[in-house]
Amino acid sequence: MVKNRLAYMFIAPAMVVMALLVFYPLFSGIYLSFTNADQFNTTRRIGANVIPASYQFIGLQNYTDILNIPQYEFWRVFGQTVLWTGFNVVPHILIGLALALLLNRKIKGRTIYRILLILPWAVPSYISAFVWRFIYNGDIGLLNNLMRDIGLGSVPWLSDPGWTMFAVVVANTWLAIPFNMVTMLGGLQSISPELYEAAEVDGANALQKFLNITLPMLRPVMMTATLLGVIWTFNSFNVIFLVSEGGPARATEILATWAWRWGRDRSEIGIGAAYSVIILLILLVFSAVYVRVLNRRGQESAL
Protein backbone atom coordinates (compact mmCIF):
# COMPACT_ATOMS: atom_id res chain seq x y z
CA MET A 1 0.00 0.00 0.00
CA VAL A 2 2.74 2.38 1.03
CA LYS A 3 4.80 1.07 -1.85
CA ASN A 4 1.87 1.75 -4.19
CA ARG A 5 1.57 5.35 -3.08
CA LEU A 6 5.30 5.90 -3.45
CA ALA A 7 5.25 4.36 -6.92
CA TYR A 8 2.42 6.66 -7.97
CA MET A 9 4.41 9.65 -6.71
CA PHE A 10 7.34 8.55 -8.84
CA ILE A 11 5.30 8.12 -12.00
CA ALA A 12 2.98 11.08 -11.47
CA PRO A 13 4.99 13.83 -13.22
CA ALA A 14 5.58 11.78 -16.35
CA MET A 15 1.97 10.57 -16.44
CA VAL A 16 0.57 14.08 -16.05
CA VAL A 17 2.72 15.33 -18.92
CA MET A 18 1.78 12.30 -21.02
CA ALA A 19 -1.88 13.03 -20.33
CA LEU A 20 -1.51 16.64 -21.42
CA LEU A 21 0.78 16.13 -24.38
CA VAL A 22 -0.23 12.75 -25.78
CA PHE A 23 -3.69 11.74 -24.62
CA TYR A 24 -5.30 15.13 -24.79
CA PRO A 25 -4.08 15.72 -28.37
CA LEU A 26 -5.05 12.18 -29.26
CA PHE A 27 -8.61 12.63 -28.06
CA SER A 28 -8.82 16.15 -29.38
CA GLY A 29 -7.70 14.74 -32.73
CA ILE A 30 -10.42 12.14 -32.61
CA TYR A 31 -12.93 14.87 -31.79
CA LEU A 32 -11.60 17.10 -34.59
CA SER A 33 -12.16 14.26 -37.03
CA PHE A 34 -15.89 14.56 -36.29
CA THR A 35 -15.95 18.31 -36.98
CA ASN A 36 -15.84 20.60 -39.99
CA ALA A 37 -12.72 22.41 -38.69
CA ASP A 38 -10.79 24.37 -41.33
CA GLN A 39 -8.76 27.58 -41.50
CA PHE A 40 -11.85 29.79 -41.35
CA ASN A 41 -13.50 28.38 -38.24
CA THR A 42 -10.53 27.43 -36.02
CA THR A 43 -8.98 30.01 -33.70
CA ARG A 44 -7.76 32.99 -35.72
CA ARG A 45 -5.50 35.81 -34.66
CA ILE A 46 -5.63 39.16 -36.37
CA GLY A 47 -3.13 41.37 -34.64
CA ALA A 48 -3.93 41.22 -30.95
CA ASN A 49 -7.51 40.10 -31.58
CA VAL A 50 -8.36 36.47 -31.09
CA ILE A 51 -11.40 35.10 -32.90
CA PRO A 52 -12.37 31.90 -31.07
CA ALA A 53 -12.94 28.62 -32.84
CA SER A 54 -16.46 28.02 -34.18
CA TYR A 55 -16.27 24.65 -35.90
CA GLN A 56 -19.09 22.21 -35.41
CA PHE A 57 -19.69 18.55 -34.81
CA ILE A 58 -20.70 16.88 -38.07
CA GLY A 59 -20.63 13.22 -37.01
CA LEU A 60 -19.09 10.73 -39.39
CA GLN A 61 -19.27 12.96 -42.43
CA ASN A 62 -15.50 13.36 -42.83
CA TYR A 63 -15.10 9.60 -42.80
CA THR A 64 -17.89 8.94 -45.28
CA ASP A 65 -16.55 11.73 -47.49
CA ILE A 66 -13.02 10.32 -47.40
CA LEU A 67 -14.26 6.86 -48.29
CA ASN A 68 -16.71 7.96 -50.98
CA ILE A 69 -15.67 11.23 -52.59
CA PRO A 70 -13.10 10.73 -55.38
CA GLN A 71 -11.08 13.88 -54.64
CA TYR A 72 -9.96 12.45 -51.27
CA GLU A 73 -8.41 9.49 -53.13
CA PHE A 74 -8.47 7.32 -50.03
CA TRP A 75 -8.32 3.92 -51.71
CA ARG A 76 -5.59 4.91 -54.11
CA VAL A 77 -3.38 6.39 -51.40
CA PHE A 78 -4.16 3.48 -49.08
CA GLY A 79 -3.07 1.05 -51.81
CA GLN A 80 0.10 3.02 -52.39
CA THR A 81 0.84 3.00 -48.65
CA VAL A 82 0.45 -0.77 -48.47
CA LEU A 83 2.70 -1.25 -51.51
CA TRP A 84 5.25 1.19 -50.11
CA THR A 85 5.28 -0.59 -46.76
CA GLY A 86 5.57 -4.06 -48.30
CA PHE A 87 8.23 -3.09 -50.83
CA ASN A 88 10.25 -1.63 -47.98
CA VAL A 89 9.86 -3.94 -45.02
CA VAL A 90 10.50 -7.23 -46.84
CA PRO A 91 13.90 -6.17 -48.24
CA HIS A 92 14.76 -4.40 -44.98
CA ILE A 93 14.36 -7.62 -43.02
CA LEU A 94 16.01 -9.87 -45.63
CA ILE A 95 18.98 -7.60 -46.33
CA GLY A 96 19.35 -6.82 -42.63
CA LEU A 97 19.38 -10.53 -41.82
CA ALA A 98 21.84 -11.35 -44.62
CA LEU A 99 24.27 -8.64 -43.58
CA ALA A 100 23.97 -9.63 -39.92
CA LEU A 101 24.80 -13.24 -40.80
CA LEU A 102 27.87 -12.09 -42.73
CA LEU A 103 28.98 -9.77 -39.94
CA ASN A 104 28.50 -12.54 -37.40
CA ARG A 105 31.18 -14.64 -39.11
CA LYS A 106 34.64 -14.49 -37.59
CA ILE A 107 36.33 -12.44 -40.30
CA LYS A 108 38.90 -9.69 -40.25
CA GLY A 109 37.76 -6.08 -40.20
CA ARG A 110 34.31 -6.76 -38.69
CA THR A 111 34.40 -3.56 -36.66
CA ILE A 112 35.20 -1.46 -39.71
CA TYR A 113 32.45 -3.04 -41.80
CA ARG A 114 30.01 -2.49 -38.96
CA ILE A 115 30.89 1.20 -38.72
CA LEU A 116 30.64 1.70 -42.49
CA LEU A 117 27.36 -0.18 -42.73
CA ILE A 118 25.59 1.80 -40.01
CA LEU A 119 26.74 5.15 -41.36
CA PRO A 120 23.33 6.03 -42.91
CA TRP A 121 21.79 5.76 -39.45
CA ALA A 122 24.06 8.51 -38.14
CA VAL A 123 22.83 10.92 -40.81
CA PRO A 124 19.60 12.81 -40.04
CA SER A 125 16.87 11.28 -42.20
CA TYR A 126 15.89 14.60 -43.74
CA ILE A 127 19.51 15.12 -44.84
CA SER A 128 19.56 11.67 -46.41
CA ALA A 129 16.35 12.58 -48.20
CA PHE A 130 17.96 15.76 -49.60
CA VAL A 131 20.97 13.75 -50.73
CA TRP A 132 18.86 11.13 -52.50
CA ARG A 133 16.80 13.80 -54.17
CA PHE A 134 20.08 15.29 -55.40
CA ILE A 135 21.36 11.89 -56.59
CA TYR A 136 18.07 11.24 -58.44
CA ASN A 137 18.00 14.68 -60.07
CA GLY A 138 17.18 14.22 -63.75
CA ASP A 139 19.68 16.71 -65.17
CA ILE A 140 22.65 16.94 -62.81
CA GLY A 141 22.05 13.94 -60.52
CA LEU A 142 24.78 11.41 -59.97
CA LEU A 143 22.71 8.45 -61.20
CA ASN A 144 21.72 9.96 -64.52
CA ASN A 145 25.25 11.22 -65.13
CA LEU A 146 26.39 7.67 -64.53
CA MET A 147 23.66 6.21 -66.78
CA ARG A 148 24.61 8.59 -69.59
CA ASP A 149 28.31 7.86 -69.17
CA ILE A 150 27.79 4.14 -69.65
CA GLY A 151 25.45 4.84 -72.56
CA LEU A 152 22.13 3.83 -71.05
CA GLY A 153 20.57 7.28 -71.19
CA SER A 154 18.58 9.15 -68.55
CA VAL A 155 16.03 7.49 -66.31
CA PRO A 156 13.01 9.50 -65.10
CA TRP A 157 13.78 8.65 -61.45
CA LEU A 158 11.43 11.23 -60.00
CA SER A 159 9.11 11.98 -62.92
CA ASP A 160 7.65 8.58 -63.78
CA PRO A 161 5.27 6.94 -61.26
CA GLY A 162 6.87 3.49 -61.37
CA TRP A 163 10.45 4.72 -61.29
CA THR A 164 9.64 7.16 -58.51
CA MET A 165 8.16 4.45 -56.30
CA PHE A 166 11.29 2.40 -56.98
CA ALA A 167 13.52 5.39 -56.22
CA VAL A 168 11.90 6.27 -52.88
CA VAL A 169 11.91 2.62 -51.82
CA VAL A 170 15.63 2.38 -52.56
CA ALA A 171 16.34 5.58 -50.64
CA ASN A 172 14.28 4.41 -47.67
CA THR A 173 15.87 0.95 -47.74
CA TRP A 174 19.28 2.59 -47.62
CA LEU A 175 18.13 4.45 -44.52
CA ALA A 176 16.56 1.44 -42.81
CA ILE A 177 19.18 -1.27 -43.36
CA PRO A 178 21.46 -0.22 -40.46
CA PHE A 179 18.72 -0.55 -37.84
CA ASN A 180 17.62 -3.94 -39.14
CA MET A 181 21.16 -5.21 -39.50
CA VAL A 182 22.23 -4.19 -36.01
CA THR A 183 19.02 -5.55 -34.48
CA MET A 184 19.46 -8.92 -36.18
CA LEU A 185 23.13 -8.98 -35.27
CA GLY A 186 22.21 -8.44 -31.62
CA GLY A 187 19.78 -11.32 -31.91
CA LEU A 188 22.37 -13.58 -33.52
CA GLN A 189 24.93 -12.83 -30.86
CA SER A 190 22.53 -13.70 -28.08
CA ILE A 191 22.14 -17.26 -29.39
CA SER A 192 24.15 -19.59 -27.21
CA PRO A 193 27.12 -21.12 -29.07
CA GLU A 194 26.47 -24.37 -27.21
CA LEU A 195 23.45 -24.97 -29.42
CA TYR A 196 25.61 -24.91 -32.52
CA GLU A 197 28.25 -27.10 -30.89
CA ALA A 198 25.64 -29.66 -29.97
CA ALA A 199 24.25 -29.61 -33.51
CA GLU A 200 27.73 -30.14 -34.93
CA VAL A 201 28.26 -33.13 -32.68
CA ASP A 202 25.05 -34.49 -34.15
CA GLY A 203 26.46 -33.89 -37.65
CA ALA A 204 24.22 -30.99 -38.73
CA ASN A 205 25.37 -29.05 -41.80
CA ALA A 206 25.34 -25.25 -42.15
CA LEU A 207 21.88 -25.11 -43.71
CA GLN A 208 20.39 -27.38 -41.06
CA LYS A 209 21.94 -25.26 -38.33
CA PHE A 210 20.51 -22.11 -39.91
CA LEU A 211 17.02 -23.57 -40.30
CA ASN A 212 16.85 -25.37 -36.98
CA ILE A 213 18.77 -23.08 -34.65
CA THR A 214 19.35 -19.61 -36.10
CA LEU A 215 15.91 -18.92 -37.54
CA PRO A 216 13.85 -20.17 -34.56
CA MET A 217 16.11 -18.43 -32.05
CA LEU A 218 16.05 -15.21 -34.06
CA ARG A 219 12.30 -15.29 -34.49
CA PRO A 220 11.36 -12.94 -31.60
CA VAL A 221 13.87 -10.33 -32.73
CA MET A 222 12.77 -10.62 -36.36
CA MET A 223 9.11 -10.33 -35.41
CA THR A 224 9.77 -7.20 -33.33
CA ALA A 225 11.86 -5.67 -36.11
CA THR A 226 9.11 -6.42 -38.61
CA LEU A 227 6.39 -4.84 -36.47
CA LEU A 228 8.45 -1.73 -35.81
CA GLY A 229 9.45 -1.62 -39.49
CA VAL A 230 5.84 -1.75 -40.64
CA ILE A 231 4.75 0.99 -38.23
CA TRP A 232 7.69 3.27 -39.04
CA THR A 233 7.55 2.73 -42.79
CA PHE A 234 3.79 3.19 -42.90
CA ASN A 235 4.37 6.63 -41.38
CA SER A 236 7.72 7.55 -42.86
CA PHE A 237 6.98 11.13 -43.70
CA ASN A 238 10.43 12.54 -44.45
CA VAL A 239 11.53 10.34 -47.33
CA ILE A 240 8.30 10.68 -49.28
CA PHE A 241 7.79 14.33 -48.47
CA LEU A 242 11.33 15.39 -49.34
CA VAL A 243 12.47 12.98 -52.05
CA SER A 244 9.41 12.68 -54.28
CA GLU A 245 7.01 15.18 -52.64
CA GLY A 246 4.39 12.46 -53.14
CA GLY A 247 4.66 12.89 -56.87
CA PRO A 248 4.58 12.61 -59.77
CA ALA A 249 0.83 13.24 -59.82
CA ARG A 250 0.47 11.89 -56.25
CA ALA A 251 1.73 8.44 -57.31
CA THR A 252 3.96 8.08 -54.23
CA GLU A 253 1.72 9.86 -51.73
CA ILE A 254 1.18 7.73 -48.59
CA LEU A 255 -1.44 8.16 -45.88
CA ALA A 256 0.94 10.01 -43.52
CA THR A 257 1.89 12.65 -46.10
CA TRP A 258 -1.65 12.73 -47.48
CA ALA A 259 -3.14 13.44 -44.03
CA TRP A 260 -0.64 16.26 -43.65
CA ARG A 261 -1.54 17.75 -47.04
CA TRP A 262 -5.23 17.91 -46.12
CA GLY A 263 -4.74 19.01 -42.55
CA ARG A 264 -1.94 21.52 -43.02
CA ASP A 265 -1.45 22.46 -46.69
CA ARG A 266 -5.14 22.71 -47.50
CA SER A 267 -6.20 23.56 -43.95
CA GLU A 268 -9.01 20.99 -44.02
CA ILE A 269 -8.22 20.19 -40.40
CA GLY A 270 -11.25 17.92 -39.92
CA ILE A 271 -10.31 15.83 -42.95
CA GLY A 272 -6.65 15.71 -41.90
CA ALA A 273 -7.63 14.61 -38.40
CA ALA A 274 -9.93 11.93 -39.81
CA TYR A 275 -7.08 10.65 -41.95
CA SER A 276 -4.84 10.51 -38.85
CA VAL A 277 -7.46 8.51 -36.97
CA ILE A 278 -7.73 6.14 -39.93
CA ILE A 279 -3.94 5.64 -39.87
CA LEU A 280 -4.09 4.94 -36.15
CA LEU A 281 -6.93 2.43 -36.57
CA ILE A 282 -5.16 0.60 -39.40
CA LEU A 283 -1.96 0.31 -37.37
CA LEU A 284 -3.79 -0.75 -34.19
CA VAL A 285 -5.71 -3.47 -36.01
CA PHE A 286 -2.57 -4.63 -37.78
CA SER A 287 -0.53 -4.72 -34.56
CA ALA A 288 -3.24 -6.54 -32.61
CA VAL A 289 -3.66 -9.21 -35.28
CA TYR A 290 0.09 -9.50 -35.69
CA VAL A 291 0.80 -9.94 -32.00
CA ARG A 292 -2.05 -12.40 -31.63
CA VAL A 293 -0.88 -14.58 -34.51
CA LEU A 294 2.66 -14.30 -33.21
CA ASN A 295 1.76 -15.44 -29.70
CA ARG A 296 -0.32 -18.35 -30.92
CA ARG A 297 2.56 -19.58 -33.09
CA GLY A 298 4.97 -19.02 -30.23
CA GLN A 299 2.93 -21.27 -27.92
CA GLU A 300 2.73 -24.00 -30.54
CA SER A 301 6.45 -24.02 -31.08
CA ALA A 302 7.04 -23.99 -27.34
CA LEU A 303 5.01 -27.17 -26.91
Binding site: N4, A7, Y8, F10, I11, A14, M15, V17, M18, P25, L26, L32, A37, T43, R45, L99, L102, L103, R105, K106, I107, G109, L117, I118, P120, W121, V123, P124, I127, S128, F130, V131, F134, I135, N137, I140, I177, P178, F179, G186, G187, Y196, E200, T224, L228, W232, N235, F237, N238, W260, G263, R264, I269, G272, A273, S276, V277, I279, L280, L283
Partner: protein, 311 residues
Protein backbone atom coordinates in the same frame (compact mmCIF):
# COMPACT_ATOMS: atom_id res chain seq x y z
CA UNK B 1 35.84 -24.01 -30.28
CA UNK B 2 36.79 -23.55 -33.93
CA UNK B 3 39.30 -26.39 -33.90
CA UNK B 4 36.80 -28.94 -32.69
CA UNK B 5 34.13 -27.81 -35.12
CA UNK B 6 36.56 -27.92 -38.02
CA UNK B 7 37.79 -31.42 -37.35
CA UNK B 8 34.31 -32.87 -37.00
CA UNK B 9 33.01 -31.00 -40.03
CA UNK B 10 36.10 -31.81 -42.06
CA UNK B 11 35.43 -35.47 -41.71
CA UNK B 12 32.01 -35.00 -43.24
CA UNK B 13 33.03 -32.78 -46.10
CA UNK B 14 35.76 -35.08 -47.39
CA UNK B 15 33.25 -36.65 -49.72
CA UNK B 16 32.35 -33.23 -51.15
CA UNK B 17 35.66 -32.74 -53.00
CA UNK B 18 36.70 -29.47 -51.35
CA UNK B 19 38.42 -29.56 -48.00
CA UNK B 20 36.89 -27.60 -45.14
CA UNK B 21 39.78 -25.12 -45.24
CA UNK B 22 39.10 -24.44 -48.91
CA UNK B 23 35.39 -24.04 -48.22
CA UNK B 24 36.10 -21.63 -45.40
CA UNK B 25 38.41 -19.64 -47.63
CA UNK B 26 35.80 -19.34 -50.37
CA UNK B 27 33.17 -18.38 -47.82
CA UNK B 28 35.48 -15.73 -46.37
CA UNK B 29 36.22 -14.26 -49.80
CA UNK B 30 32.52 -14.11 -50.67
CA UNK B 31 31.76 -12.54 -47.29
CA UNK B 32 34.38 -9.85 -47.77
CA UNK B 33 33.29 -9.18 -51.35
CA UNK B 34 29.65 -8.74 -50.34
CA UNK B 35 30.46 -6.61 -47.33
CA UNK B 36 32.77 -4.38 -49.36
CA UNK B 37 30.16 -3.81 -52.09
CA UNK B 38 27.39 -3.07 -49.58
CA UNK B 39 29.71 -0.82 -47.55
CA UNK B 40 30.44 1.21 -50.68
CA UNK B 41 26.72 1.58 -51.35
CA UNK B 42 26.09 2.68 -47.76
CA UNK B 43 29.00 5.12 -47.61
CA UNK B 44 28.95 6.56 -51.10
CA UNK B 45 25.96 8.94 -50.77
CA UNK B 46 27.56 10.39 -47.64
CA UNK B 47 30.91 10.84 -49.35
CA UNK B 48 29.12 12.34 -52.33
CA UNK B 49 27.49 15.06 -50.29
CA UNK B 50 30.76 15.83 -48.49
CA UNK B 51 32.49 16.08 -51.87
CA UNK B 52 29.70 18.26 -53.26
CA UNK B 53 30.03 20.63 -50.33
CA UNK B 54 33.57 21.52 -51.45
CA UNK B 55 32.73 22.00 -55.15
CA UNK B 56 31.90 25.30 -56.84
CA UNK B 57 28.37 25.51 -58.23
CA UNK B 58 29.49 25.04 -61.85
CA UNK B 59 31.14 21.75 -61.01
CA UNK B 60 28.15 20.55 -59.00
CA UNK B 61 25.89 21.24 -61.97
CA UNK B 62 28.18 19.80 -64.63
CA UNK B 63 27.58 16.35 -66.08
CA UNK B 64 31.02 15.05 -65.13
CA UNK B 65 31.28 12.79 -62.13
CA UNK B 66 34.12 13.82 -59.84
CA UNK B 67 34.32 12.37 -56.37
CA UNK B 68 37.40 14.48 -55.58
CA UNK B 69 36.49 18.11 -56.33
CA UNK B 70 38.51 19.46 -59.27
CA UNK B 71 38.30 22.94 -57.85
CA UNK B 72 38.36 22.78 -54.07
CA UNK B 73 36.44 25.62 -52.42
CA UNK B 74 35.18 26.70 -49.00
CA UNK B 75 32.84 29.18 -50.63
CA UNK B 76 29.72 27.06 -49.95
CA UNK B 77 30.52 26.88 -46.23
CA UNK B 78 31.31 30.55 -46.15
CA UNK B 79 27.97 31.38 -47.76
CA UNK B 80 25.95 29.08 -45.49
CA UNK B 81 27.67 30.32 -42.32
CA UNK B 82 27.93 34.01 -43.16
CA UNK B 83 25.92 34.83 -46.23
CA UNK B 84 22.33 34.07 -45.23
CA UNK B 85 21.01 37.32 -43.92
CA UNK B 86 17.39 38.08 -43.28
CA UNK B 87 15.65 41.23 -42.15
CA UNK B 88 13.28 40.67 -39.26
CA UNK B 89 10.35 43.08 -39.29
CA UNK B 90 8.36 43.01 -36.08
CA UNK B 91 5.41 45.19 -35.33
CA UNK B 92 6.38 48.31 -33.38
CA UNK B 93 10.10 47.62 -33.57
CA UNK B 94 12.87 48.66 -35.90
CA UNK B 95 13.71 46.06 -38.50
CA UNK B 96 16.97 44.26 -37.83
CA UNK B 97 19.14 41.86 -39.73
CA UNK B 98 19.95 38.35 -38.56
CA UNK B 99 22.26 35.64 -39.84
CA UNK B 100 19.84 32.84 -40.64
CA UNK B 101 22.08 29.79 -40.29
CA UNK B 102 23.22 30.79 -36.81
CA UNK B 103 19.67 31.75 -35.85
CA UNK B 104 18.34 28.36 -36.98
CA UNK B 105 21.26 26.68 -35.23
CA UNK B 106 20.53 28.53 -31.99
CA UNK B 107 16.84 27.62 -32.23
CA UNK B 108 17.67 23.96 -32.86
CA UNK B 109 20.19 23.84 -30.02
CA UNK B 110 17.89 25.55 -27.52
CA UNK B 111 14.90 23.39 -28.41
CA UNK B 112 16.93 20.17 -28.37
CA UNK B 113 18.57 20.95 -25.03
CA UNK B 114 15.32 21.88 -23.29
CA UNK B 115 13.51 18.86 -24.71
CA UNK B 116 16.35 16.63 -23.52
CA UNK B 117 16.32 18.07 -20.02
CA UNK B 118 12.56 17.84 -19.58
CA UNK B 119 12.45 14.36 -21.08
CA UNK B 120 15.15 12.92 -18.83
CA UNK B 121 14.03 14.71 -15.65
CA UNK B 122 10.44 13.52 -15.94
CA UNK B 123 11.31 10.08 -17.23
CA UNK B 124 13.95 9.08 -14.66
CA UNK B 125 11.70 8.72 -11.61
CA UNK B 126 8.94 7.10 -13.66
CA UNK B 127 11.36 4.59 -15.17
CA UNK B 128 12.72 3.87 -11.69
CA UNK B 129 9.28 3.13 -10.32
CA UNK B 130 8.52 0.83 -13.25
CA UNK B 131 11.79 -0.97 -12.70
CA UNK B 132 11.66 -1.33 -8.90
CA UNK B 133 8.12 -1.20 -7.58
CA UNK B 134 5.21 -3.52 -8.02
CA UNK B 135 2.04 -1.47 -8.12
CA UNK B 136 -1.47 -1.61 -9.43
CA UNK B 137 -1.50 -0.56 -13.08
CA UNK B 138 2.23 -1.03 -13.63
CA UNK B 139 1.72 -3.19 -16.68
CA UNK B 140 -0.82 -0.77 -18.14
CA UNK B 141 1.58 2.15 -17.68
CA UNK B 142 4.35 0.22 -19.39
CA UNK B 143 2.13 -0.67 -22.32
CA UNK B 144 1.09 2.98 -22.63
CA UNK B 145 4.72 4.06 -22.91
CA UNK B 146 5.57 1.25 -25.30
CA UNK B 147 2.67 2.04 -27.62
CA UNK B 148 3.14 5.80 -27.58
CA UNK B 149 6.81 5.27 -28.35
CA UNK B 150 5.89 3.20 -31.36
CA UNK B 151 3.20 5.48 -32.73
CA UNK B 152 4.84 8.37 -34.45
CA UNK B 153 4.17 12.05 -34.96
CA UNK B 154 2.08 11.63 -38.08
CA UNK B 155 -0.94 10.86 -35.91
CA UNK B 156 -0.61 13.76 -33.50
CA UNK B 157 0.60 16.46 -35.87
CA UNK B 158 -2.83 17.82 -36.90
CA UNK B 159 -4.37 17.95 -33.39
CA UNK B 160 -1.14 19.40 -31.94
CA UNK B 161 -1.22 22.06 -34.63
CA UNK B 162 -4.77 22.94 -33.67
CA UNK B 163 -4.01 22.98 -29.93
CA UNK B 164 -0.89 25.13 -30.33
CA UNK B 165 -2.92 27.48 -32.49
CA UNK B 166 -5.62 27.69 -29.78
CA UNK B 167 -3.16 28.55 -27.04
CA UNK B 168 -1.07 30.86 -29.20
CA UNK B 169 2.11 28.75 -29.21
CA UNK B 170 2.34 28.17 -32.95
CA UNK B 171 5.63 29.39 -34.35
CA UNK B 172 7.26 29.54 -30.89
CA UNK B 173 10.06 27.41 -29.48
CA UNK B 174 7.93 26.59 -26.45
CA UNK B 175 5.32 24.99 -28.67
CA UNK B 176 7.90 22.90 -30.45
CA UNK B 177 9.47 21.76 -27.15
CA UNK B 178 6.05 20.63 -25.91
CA UNK B 179 5.43 18.61 -29.05
CA UNK B 180 8.90 17.04 -28.92
CA UNK B 181 8.23 15.86 -25.39
CA UNK B 182 5.50 13.61 -26.81
CA UNK B 183 8.32 11.63 -28.42
CA UNK B 184 11.11 12.15 -25.90
CA UNK B 185 9.19 11.16 -22.77
CA UNK B 186 7.97 7.65 -23.67
CA UNK B 187 11.29 6.89 -25.34
CA UNK B 188 13.26 8.00 -22.27
CA UNK B 189 11.05 6.10 -19.83
CA UNK B 190 11.43 2.92 -21.79
CA UNK B 191 15.19 3.21 -22.27
CA UNK B 192 15.87 4.27 -18.68
CA UNK B 193 13.80 1.41 -17.31
CA UNK B 194 16.17 -0.90 -19.15
CA UNK B 195 19.17 0.78 -17.55
CA UNK B 196 17.65 0.59 -14.04
CA UNK B 197 16.79 -3.07 -14.64
CA UNK B 198 20.45 -3.70 -15.35
CA UNK B 199 21.60 -2.55 -11.87
CA UNK B 200 21.04 -5.03 -9.03
CA UNK B 201 18.57 -3.94 -6.38
CA UNK B 202 20.83 -5.21 -3.55
CA UNK B 203 22.58 -1.90 -2.92
CA UNK B 204 19.34 0.04 -2.54
CA UNK B 205 17.88 -2.71 -0.41
CA UNK B 206 20.88 -2.62 1.91
CA UNK B 207 20.60 1.16 2.18
CA UNK B 208 16.88 0.93 3.02
CA UNK B 209 17.61 -1.69 5.69
CA UNK B 210 20.15 0.77 7.10
CA UNK B 211 17.45 3.41 7.39
CA UNK B 212 17.65 5.19 4.06
CA UNK B 213 14.29 6.24 2.63
CA UNK B 214 13.19 4.76 -0.73
CA UNK B 215 13.46 8.23 -2.27
CA UNK B 216 16.97 8.54 -0.87
CA UNK B 217 17.88 5.12 -2.28
CA UNK B 218 16.70 6.28 -5.67
CA UNK B 219 18.38 9.67 -5.48
CA UNK B 220 21.69 8.73 -3.88
CA UNK B 221 22.29 5.20 -5.14
CA UNK B 222 20.29 4.22 -8.21
CA UNK B 223 20.50 7.54 -10.04
CA UNK B 224 24.29 7.98 -9.78
CA UNK B 225 24.80 4.37 -10.87
CA UNK B 226 22.64 4.99 -13.94
CA UNK B 227 24.43 8.17 -15.03
CA UNK B 228 26.03 6.56 -18.10
CA UNK B 229 22.60 5.34 -19.17
CA UNK B 230 21.12 8.76 -18.55
CA UNK B 231 23.83 10.27 -20.75
CA UNK B 232 22.95 7.89 -23.56
CA UNK B 233 19.23 8.59 -23.27
CA UNK B 234 19.91 12.33 -23.12
CA UNK B 235 21.99 12.09 -26.27
CA UNK B 236 19.23 10.28 -28.15
CA UNK B 237 16.67 12.82 -27.03
CA UNK B 238 18.98 15.54 -28.23
CA UNK B 239 19.52 13.82 -31.55
CA UNK B 240 15.82 13.20 -32.10
CA UNK B 241 14.98 16.84 -31.47
CA UNK B 242 17.95 18.11 -33.47
CA UNK B 243 16.93 15.95 -36.47
CA UNK B 244 13.16 16.37 -36.27
CA UNK B 245 11.62 17.71 -39.44
CA UNK B 246 7.87 17.18 -39.76
CA UNK B 247 6.60 18.89 -36.60
CA UNK B 248 9.01 21.80 -37.04
CA UNK B 249 7.87 22.21 -40.63
CA UNK B 250 4.24 22.24 -39.51
CA UNK B 251 4.52 24.65 -36.60
CA UNK B 252 7.38 27.03 -37.42
CA UNK B 253 6.58 29.50 -40.16
CA UNK B 254 8.57 32.64 -39.44
CA UNK B 255 11.94 32.55 -41.19
CA UNK B 256 13.84 33.51 -38.01
CA UNK B 257 11.91 30.96 -35.89
CA UNK B 258 12.76 27.92 -37.97
CA UNK B 259 15.03 25.12 -36.86
CA UNK B 260 17.91 23.86 -38.99
CA UNK B 261 15.99 21.04 -40.74
CA UNK B 262 13.22 23.36 -41.91
CA UNK B 263 15.66 26.13 -42.74
CA UNK B 264 17.91 23.91 -44.82
CA UNK B 265 14.91 22.80 -46.82
CA UNK B 266 14.97 26.26 -48.40
CA UNK B 267 18.09 25.29 -50.33
CA UNK B 268 16.29 22.35 -51.88
CA UNK B 269 12.80 23.67 -52.46
CA UNK B 270 12.87 27.44 -52.77
CA UNK B 271 13.23 29.13 -56.16
CA UNK B 272 16.20 27.45 -57.79
CA UNK B 273 17.80 24.52 -56.04
CA UNK B 274 21.16 25.31 -54.45
CA UNK B 275 22.62 21.83 -54.12
CA UNK B 276 26.09 23.16 -53.30
CA UNK B 277 24.74 25.11 -50.32
CA UNK B 278 22.49 22.20 -49.33
CA UNK B 279 25.58 19.97 -49.21
CA UNK B 280 27.59 22.37 -47.06
CA UNK B 281 24.66 22.89 -44.67
CA UNK B 282 24.07 19.13 -44.47
CA UNK B 283 27.66 18.44 -43.47
CA UNK B 284 27.52 21.17 -40.83
CA UNK B 285 24.36 19.88 -39.13
CA UNK B 286 25.33 16.22 -39.34
CA UNK B 287 28.79 16.38 -37.79
CA UNK B 288 27.69 17.29 -34.23
CA UNK B 289 25.36 14.29 -33.90
CA UNK B 290 27.33 11.79 -35.95
CA UNK B 291 30.19 11.41 -33.48
CA UNK B 292 27.92 10.92 -30.50
CA UNK B 293 25.80 8.51 -32.48
CA UNK B 294 28.60 6.04 -33.03
CA UNK B 295 29.28 5.95 -29.32
CA UNK B 296 25.65 5.64 -28.22
CA UNK B 297 24.02 3.49 -30.91
CA UNK B 298 24.74 0.11 -29.32
CA UNK B 299 22.50 0.99 -26.37
CA UNK B 300 19.66 2.07 -28.61
CA UNK B 301 19.32 -1.30 -30.27
CA UNK B 302 19.46 -3.35 -27.09
CA UNK B 303 16.91 -1.00 -25.52
CA UNK B 304 14.50 -1.26 -28.43
CA UNK B 305 14.65 -5.01 -28.90
CA UNK B 306 14.45 -5.72 -25.18
CA UNK B 307 11.48 -3.43 -24.95
CA UNK B 308 9.77 -5.11 -27.87
CA UNK B 309 10.56 -8.67 -26.95
CA UNK B 310 10.13 -8.74 -23.23
CA UNK B 311 7.24 -6.25 -23.08
Amino acid sequence: MTTTTRSSAAAKSRAGGLSQTQKNLIADILTHATLIIVSIIMVFPVLWVVSTSFKPQAEVESSRITLIPQTFTFENYDHVLNGLTYTVQERGADPYEVNLFWTWGRNSLLIALITTTIGVLLAASCAYALSRFQFLGRRAVMIVFLITQMFPGAILVIPLYNILNDIGLLNTWQGLVLSYCTVALPFSVWMLKGFFDAIPYDLEEAAIVDGCSPVGAYWRIALPLTLPGIAVVAFFNFMTAWNEFMLALTFMTGEANKTLPVGLRNFVFQFNTDWHYMAAGSVLVTIPVMIGFFYAQRYLVSGLTQGGVKG
